[in-house]
């Protein structure tokens, strides 16, 4: 069996269905599978509204999981927690607190036994890390969007999370700020080696930031369409990445996938397959969700390419 670090994060057959009083439940995400190595950065890319954010909020525990499981370091996780820090699309800072207080709020939770001095040092360290050493006592309303997002990043990283979840963190920023912040995050990730899931709809961002790109099919019933391994070395250098001989080929691959998804109608499911990176998409065409739910347990038990909940539990027991 592979080392636990290779299967640090296991997202297994994640399903999100919303009840619909007048018919079948609306299935937004239908079986999202992903396995991440420790320290790996994976981007999830797809059209807006395809369920990327739903996946992230489910992993974060902010959205209930209809079916499936998420395990980190062999332990199934339940509910939200500081082990999975989230950087939201809008910075979500508490407007009545300064940048420093915003970071401190989380630090207090994670280091309940630390002294005041220690907590202060941690906060100041991470705020300096994101380049806010001079602005840490400002209120969010006194900061630009980019600065606010930096605080959001510092707040997340200061939690020392096992996994970092970035939900289109730069979606609302201008492109210059976006590039700056990409570098800020990459620098931190290189140092801290945090396993990271990035939700984005920006092809270049996905290519620049991640080790692998996970392309989602367009919803409803979204799932992983294709996986793409990126050959770029870490630490990343923007110029190097852009001038890499495979860059445009990889980019073309992503773009063509997205274009294909664009043309896809809701009924026909045409997932391109055949590459090494493709995770076996769930091939069963299920028109009746409820019927499928009855056989779901059998399906899960029979799944060969991913850890079953049974093994998840086993591994948890071992640890």
């Amino acid at each position: 069996m592979a080392s636990p670090d290779d299967r640090f994060v296991e997202i297994f057959r994640l399903i999100k269905a919303y009840p619909n009083p007048y018919g079948e439940p609306a299935v937004v995400v239908d079986g999202f599978n992903l396995i991440m190595r420790r320290g790996e950065v994976v981007s999830v890319i797809g059209h807006s509204g395809c369920g990327k954010s739903t996946v992230l909020t489910m992993v974060a525990g902010l959205n209930s999981i209809t079916q499936g499981s998420v395990a980190i370091a062999g332990r199934e996780v339940e509910g939200a927690g500081p082990d999975r820090a989230v950087v939201f699309q809008s910075p979500c800072l508490l407007p009545w607190m300064t940048a420093y207080q915003n970071v401190l709020l989380g630090v207090k939770q994670v280091y309940p036994h630390g002294s005041k001095q220690q907590r202060r040092e941690i906060c100041e360290h991470y705020l300096a890390e994101v380049g806010l050493a001079d602005a840490m006592h400002r209120y969010p309303r006194e900061m630009s969007g980019g600065m606010q997002q930096r605080v959001g990043i510092a707040r997340a990283i200061a939690l020392k999370p096992q996994m970092l979840l970035l939900d289109e963190p730069f979606g609302r920023l201008d492109s210059l700020t976006r590039m700056e912040l990409q570098d800020v995050i990459l620098r931190i990730l290189d140092r801290e080696r945090i396993t990271t899931l990035v939700i984005t709809h920006d092809v270049d961002e996905a290519l620049y930031m991640s080790d692998r790109v996970c392309m989602m099919t367009t919803g409803p019933r979204a799932k992983v369409g294709q996986m793409l391994d990126l050959p770029f070395a870490r630490p990343r250098d923007r110029k190097e990445v852009l001038e890499h001989f495979l860059y445009y080929e990889l980019r073309g691959c992503l773009v063509s996938f997205l274009e294909q998804q664009d043309k896809r109608t809701f009924k026909t499911v045409a997932v391109p397959s055949g590459t090494d990176h493709t995770i076996e998409a769930m091939s069963e065409t299920r028109s009746d969700f409820r019927a499928w739910r009855h056989e779901a347990s059998d399906l899960i038990a029979g799944a060969a390419d991913a850890a079953s909940t049974a093994t998840v539990e086993l591994m948890a027991g071992k640890n």
Partner: protein
């Protein structure tokens, strides 16, 4: 500096000053003048128009309590109220004065009193002159009216006699007349009687004109009388002041009492038997009296400024009680849908209840808790508090405060519930990711985010409370602005009407001030730095 001033103005909501400040710094003068004309000029013009209309229209309506006072009269009443306050303060001060200060004050007061008689005489003379002038004017005006009346009366009497004799003549031959003629005769008598009635009315109207002339106000006389009253008041004040400085003065009283104690003691030493017993008793009594005198203060009546302070304290006490009830319940309602469902009927049921209903209930309930205010430890404790001890907090005060609380807490409660319920989902997500505990979530996330709405509610509550308080005081006779109005209403003195109008402006101004304070607080807690609605 300029921006600091502008910011202070903005936060305090006195935005009409902004163009003035900008103008002082020479910024776009034309625009600033326009703004000044709009935000300062227009309100001033409106106010002047209001005063003008008031001055013109007020004397046109006469009531049992006299004319509706004009702005000038109201202003004078305000002055009188203030003067009364100052005089009472002087008397209070005089009561506890000792030593040379007392002597000096006494001399000064006596000097002032000595200066009065000539003024008094002059005023009396003026009144007499005015009375004479008025009498002359009235007589002059009455004479033609009387003449007209007499003439008319004579005419009418003659006409009536003529009609009567005519009718009598007709009646003589009536026996042999036809039915039609008899009918005609009846009609003629009826019309004669109707004419008599009309003529009587006419005469009465003429008499009424005379009464009108007699009761016509005579401005010089009114002015002379006012001056005379002023002097009389001053004289009374000085007499009382001298009394407080001299005979009724605390130190003087104490000296006298100590002297009499000494006498008694001397007599006691020289006596025996029943006398000795009686003297011993009176010595003890004297000692006690000396103690009471040492603690005594001037029995000062409530003046309007004192009543205003008491009202303001009362509204704040009620407001604090209301807030202490409303905010926790509001938070519970906002947090839990079950609590909201459970409490909504109560809120809906009690919200529309008028203060007039709450007050008697509150009075009875408070009275039940405090049957004897003089022995109640809470009341005793409050009497010894600094700053508010003099206000003599009594059950009526507490009942008024509770009424204020009961009427004003609903706005805060519903606003708090709304603020807590409508908290940003993202902020709650942050709390979930950080796994904050209940109390941390409450105090770090929920309450700060609901604060602006809570304060908006508090502002409404304070406004409602202030309105309710005046009514409550009026009914509960708790010393305060409402009591002042009620006293004036029952008093029915010539200046009562004007004094009540003074209260209108006082209540308005204080309400405005309270509202402004709340706006400033609201802006200070509003984290977005946004400008709340005014």
């Amino acid at each position: 500096m300029k921006y600091k001033i502008l910011k202070v103005i903005d936060v305090s909501g006195l935005t009409f000053l902004t163009p003035v400040v900008r103008l002082c710094y020479g910024e776009e003068p034309q625009k600033q003048w326009r703004e000044i004309a709009r935000f300062i000029g227009a309100p001033l013009v409106a106010f002047v128009v209001f005063l003008g209309l008031w001055t013109v229209l007020a004397p046109k309506h006469r009531t049992k309590s006299g004319e509706v006072p004009t702005p000038a009269v109201v202003l004078e009443s305000a002055n009188d109220i203030w003067k009364f306050h100052l005089r009472e303060n002087a008397k209070e001060h005089a009561y506890s004065m000792t030593g040379e200060e007392r002597q000096a004050q006494l001399a000064e007061a006596q000097e002032r009193l000595a200066k009065l008689p000539p003024y008094e005489a002059a005023a009396a003379k003026k009144v007499a002159e005015a009375n004479e002038a008025r009498a002359a004017a009235v007589t002059a005006a009455l004479e033609p009216l009387q003449q007209q009346y007499d003439e008319r009366q004579a005419e009418i009497a003659a006409a009536q006699a003529a009609r009567e004799s005519d009718l009598l003549k007709q009646a003589a031959g009536l026996e042999s007349a036809s039915v039609d003629e008899k009918q005609a005769y009846l009609a003629a008598v009826a019309s004669h009687l109707a004419a008599v009635d009309d003529e009587r009315d006419e005469l009465q109207e003429l008499k009424g004109q005379q009464t009108e002339v007699r009761s016509q106000p005579f401005a010089p006389l009114a002015a002379a009388l006012r001056t005379q009253t002023k002097i009389a008041e001053e004289k009374q004040f000085l007499t009382k002041l001298i009394e407080q400085l001299d005979r009724a003065n605390r130190a003087q009283k104490a000296t006298r009492q100590v002297a009499s104690l000494r006498d008694q003691q001397k007599q006691f030493l020289a006596s025996s038997g029943e006398d000795a017993y009686a003297l011993a008793k009176s010595i003890d009594k004297s000692k006690r009296r000396i103690e009471t005198t040492a603690e005594s203060t001037y029995a000062k009546p409530y003046t309007l400024p004192m009543q205003i302070w008491r009202s303001v304290l009362c509204v704040f006490v009620g407001f604090l009680i209301g807030t202490a009830i409303a905010v926790p319940i509001g938070v519970c309602c906002g947090l839990s849908k079950t609590a909201m469902a459970a409490l909504t009927p109560f809120i809906a049921l009690f919200k529309p209840v008028s203060p007039i209903v709450w007050l008697p209930l509150a009075l009875i309930i408070v009275g039940g808790f405090i049957p004897d205010p003089d022995k109640n430890p809470l009341i005793q404790w409050m009497e010894n508090l600094p700053f508010i001890g003099w206000m003599q907090i009594n059950p009526a005060f507490i009942a008024s405060a509770i009424t204020v609380a009961l009427c004003s807490l609903w706005a805060t409660m519903t606003n708090t519930a709304l603020g807590v319920a409508s908290i940003d989902k993202d902020h709650l997500n942050v709390a979930r990711v950080l796994q904050l505990g209940f109390w941390e979530r409450l105090f770090k996330i929920i309450i700060p985010s609901a604060l602006p709405l809570i304060f908006a509610g508090l502002r409404i509550s304070l406004g409602v409370g202030w309105m309710v308080l005046i009514a409550a005081e009026l009914l509960s006779s708790s010393e305060g602005i409402g009591k002042f109005v009620w006293d004036q209403f029952n008093n029915g003195a010539s200046d009562s009407f004007a004094k009540m109008m003074v209260v209108v402006f006082v209540v308005g101004a204080i309400g405005l001030l309270l509202d402004r304070i709340m706006i400033v607080l609201q802006r200070m807690v509003s984290f977005e730095g946004s400008v709340a609605a005014i």
